[in-house]
Each structure stands twice: as structure tokens, then as C-alpha cells.
Symmetry: C2
Amino acid sequence: MQTDLSTLLNQALSQLDYGQQPAALYDPIRYIMGLGGKRLRPLLTLLGGQLFTDELAPLVKPALATEVFHNFTLVHDDLMDQAPLRRGQPTVHEKWNASTAILSGDVMLVRAYELLFDVPAAVLPQVLRRFSQTAAEVCEGQQWDMNFETETTVTIPQYLDMIRLKTAVLLGFALELGAVLASASADDAEHLRQFGTDIGLAFQLRDDLLDVYGDAATFGKRVGGDIISDKKTFLLLTAQAQANAAQQAALAQHIGQPVADAEAKVAAVRGVYDELTIRPQTEALINQYFEDALLHLARIDVPAERKEPLRRLALQLLERES
Amino acid sequence: MQTDLSTLLNQALSQLDYGQQPAALYDPIRYIMGLGGKRLRPLLTLLGGQLFTDELAPLVKPALATEVFHNFTLVHDDLMDQAPLRRGQPTVHEKWNASTAILSGDVMLVRAYELLFDVPAAVLPQVLRRFSQTAAEVCEGQQWDMNFETETTVTIPQYLDMIRLKTAVLLGFALELGAVLASASADDAEHLRQFGTDIGLAFQLRDDLLDVYGDAATFGKRVGGDIISDKKTFLLLTAQAQANAAQQAALAQHIGQPVADAEAKVAAVRGVYDELTIRPQTEALINQYFEDALLHLARIDVPAERKEPLRRLALQLLERES
């Protein structure tokens, strides 16, 4: 079923008309949107809607708004982060230039809004307000993330709030959008939103964990990349909060210092993490968010079997057995 | 009356809440919005609405959308153009940095949309579609403007279309918005939009003209700046199209060459313009757009005296006597 929905979404995406002229403005949009990806956010909208209706056709176009919005944030974030690659291909600012990344991104945000304008008039203001609030929150998350690069003290609650804003709220909105468009009750839509936010937090923490403990062959990024770049992840912040004097010294020898030997740095920091049981602590927090997500899913007033595709997607995202 | 409306707008602008945290995201928005300016676009919305209604209060908040949008384009354009100053003060990317200019600008676009969500449900989809179309066109205009910097041949129709997109369509939309919110007929709203677009074209051509022939004391920018930077304005493109061999040679000696003596360059290029009567030719085109604007104003089905404030604003913008 999920495969069918993905096919439906990719077909709809391939038919979107972002604009033609000037080509320098619209080619980069087709390029980034054509790089693929899981199309997770519109899939969540359809799966969210499917809890309440079998009539998914009217949900497809608005579902794409979150995908176009997500790719807009990738174009601008990659420029801000000076990232050379996205999905293994040159980023827009690398393939074209910074101005193109800015301006094509801007138009993508406009096009994301446009994809929502066909929703029923009765829910249009609500959908637009919630989308705008989410969009601003995603920008806030990116700003906190950039702030944290230069701040000396970042607390764990601050970090969790940053990833909530930067990553999780958009997953929550995508699901809520599906519920609203399928005429769910306000309570059900809210539980679905919280389910999505929790899954988003768990997903991001899992990404932090895989960066240190993942399998190089399947992770898709360089293992240890966060450690090498001194990224203040949940793992590092927890280690710094729990380290004894010797462990503090071991961390301080590497974090915020010029990197002479990247492998040695990763090994040393991971050694401290191992001593402090950072891995099981992170897994425990992921579990908590996952359990909380399931509680919200349980409280949605539809038969359990309708929830199965959504539960399976969550399991799959977090690569869990059950 | 216009002074009263400006006071009303500035008061409403000063009460807008763009957001608080992170301050690094929202301070730049308050900064750029606080630099002042004529508030021309929201003023056009109110004056457009005033043709059809005396009840302007419901128009004030949506009117601000075009002002926030306009300032968003200034923040991103100034970054793309690497401009150091805006209204005599440091630009956002100079005062903060490029990432801040990108991200704060993005949130401004979101906030601009939000200002429109309270309009009556019956016109909301129309207003949002037209705003989005206009927003995309403004981006297209900026892209053409950047393209033209490196293109060897730019035609006069291409140039006029660029300034139409980059500058004029937003003035047209601001007026149309006032008409739509004041329940004008579709015909009247369309004439008002075209009035605004024509005035915008005339205004931009006048800006091109003042760059060469303006009074240094009142122009506000460096006179001759367009000539020094080889900007392909209506004046230069017309001169290049009409120059004889000797004049072509005189232009080629300066345009696209390293600038040894800026004053000599300005004097030489202006000399060619004078020989070719570029000034009266530009004034004639400005007049044509102005006359066309007045024809559209005349066709709006309200008593002439209601149109007087709008006609006076247009005269004032173009610094004309009548």
C-alpha cells in the first residue's frame, strides 16, 4: 500500500509545473525536486488521511506542499551550511551559485503555499495558519542550530527543542494536514500531530546515534562526521554533562581543537561515550519518544487495523522490529 | 488624507509581532522594517480601497503584507547584490551575516502571507493566488535583472519586462488588493491593477533617468551610479541601439571596461546620451506609461473626485505638476 502511495506521489510530483522562464530560476527547482528522496512528508499526509477516509485523491496535491517546502529548506540550509552535496549530487549553490540558491528557494516557498490553495474553503484558513506557523518554526530551528555552533553552553532541553523545531514539527504538520483534509476531529488531528512530532524527535536522535554507532555501509554519511565537526548532538551534550574530570579532559583534548587525526578523534570521543553509556541512554530516550508516539496513535478514535500502515512506517523509519 | 493614512499604517506596522526567539532570527526583521521608507505599497492598497469604500479599517492589516513582502525582497536582493547600505544604514547581511539575511528573509515571506489570512473567506483564495503569482513574478524579475548583468545583448522589450516583473507588478497587486477587499467589480480591480503597473513602470524609468540627470542633492543615490556599474538601463540600451559608429566607439571605450576615472566615464556616456536625445526619449516613454495609467484610472466606475487622492499620489511619485 505504501508503495502504491509513493508511486502516486512521485507521479504527481513529476507533473508539477513550477514555472518556465527564466530557466535560471526554475531549472534549479526541477533539479532539487528531481534528486529523489523518500517523499516522507507527503506520504505521512496520505497515511494520516487514510486513517479517516479511503478517498485520498483530493489529498495528493496539498500533500506535496510539505515536500516542496522541505526541499526549499534544504536549498537554503545547504547554502548556509556550505554543504557541497545533497543526496550524493552537487547542491544548488554548488551547481549554480549562491544567488540562484536564494532566489530559487524563495520561489519554492511561494509554490509550496500555492499547493495548499485548493483545499476546501472551510479548512483553508486553518491549514494556511498551521502551515505558516510550522514554516516559521522550522526557520527558528535552523537559527537555533546555527546559534549553537558558536555557543559554549547548550543544554539538553535546548537541543531537544531545536531538533523539534528544525525537524519534528514538519512531520507533525504533514500528518495533521492529512487528518484535517480527511475531516478528522480536532482531537484526532492533534493526537496525530503529536504522534508525528514524537516520531520526528526519535528519528533525529536515531540519526545522531547512527552518526557515531552506525554501519558505514548503510548509514549514507561519513560515520563520526558529527564528532569530527564538534556538532553539539544529544550524545555530546549528554557526555559533557555526565563526564568526570578525566573524561572532561579527554573530551576537551579533542572538541573545539584543530583536528590532526580524524580517526583518533572519533575513537577518543566514542571511548568516552562508551564509558558513560551514552548509547543505551540515547536509545532509552528514542524509546520514550516512540512509546509516547504510540500512546497518541492509540488515542485516535479509529479501528486499530486502520492505524497499521502508519505504525509500520514509524517502525520502518526507526528500523525497529516492533 | 494621505498623511493620515501613512500615520495609520506606521502605527499598525509598529504593532506587528514578527516573533521573539531566537532573537538572531527576529531582530533583523524589526531592524529592516524599522528603517522607514514611504510605505508606498500599503498606501496604494488603502487608496485603492478608498475608491470604493470609506471603511478602511479591515484593509490595514492585509495592506501590510505587501510592505513586509517588499522588505523581504530588499533583504534577499541586497545580499545577492552585495549592497552595503539600505536607506543609508547597513544592510542586514552587513550588520549580521549572509545566513541571517537568508533566514530572516524567509520568515518575512511567511509573515507576509500570514497578514493576508484574515481577509474575508469569499476572497481569500483569490487574494492568495494573486499574491503568490505576484511574488513569483518579482523573483522572476530579480533573476532576469541578474541574468542581464552577464548577457551581451538585452533588448529594450526584455528590459521593460524585467522592470515590470521586478518593480511594477507589486504596485499593481497592492492596488488590486485594495479594490478586491473593498468589493470592487472585477473590471474595476483590473483597471486599478493596470494603473499601478503603469505607474510602476513610469516610476522605474524615472529612477533610471534621475540616475543620469538627477540633482545630486535630492536623488539620494550617487548620480551616475548606473553608468559607472555598466547597468543596462533603458537609457544605455536605447543609446546602444541608436548610436552611430563613432558613438558606438565612444560607448565601447567605457562600458564593460575597467573604470579609471569615474567622472570622466559618466561625462563621456552622458555626452553620447545627449547627442542621441536619450533624455527626451525616456521622458516620452514615461509620459506614455503615465497617460496609459490615467486611461485605466478614468475607466474605473466611481466619481472623479474619489480618484483624486490616487491621481495626486501618482503625480507626486513622478514629481509631475499635473
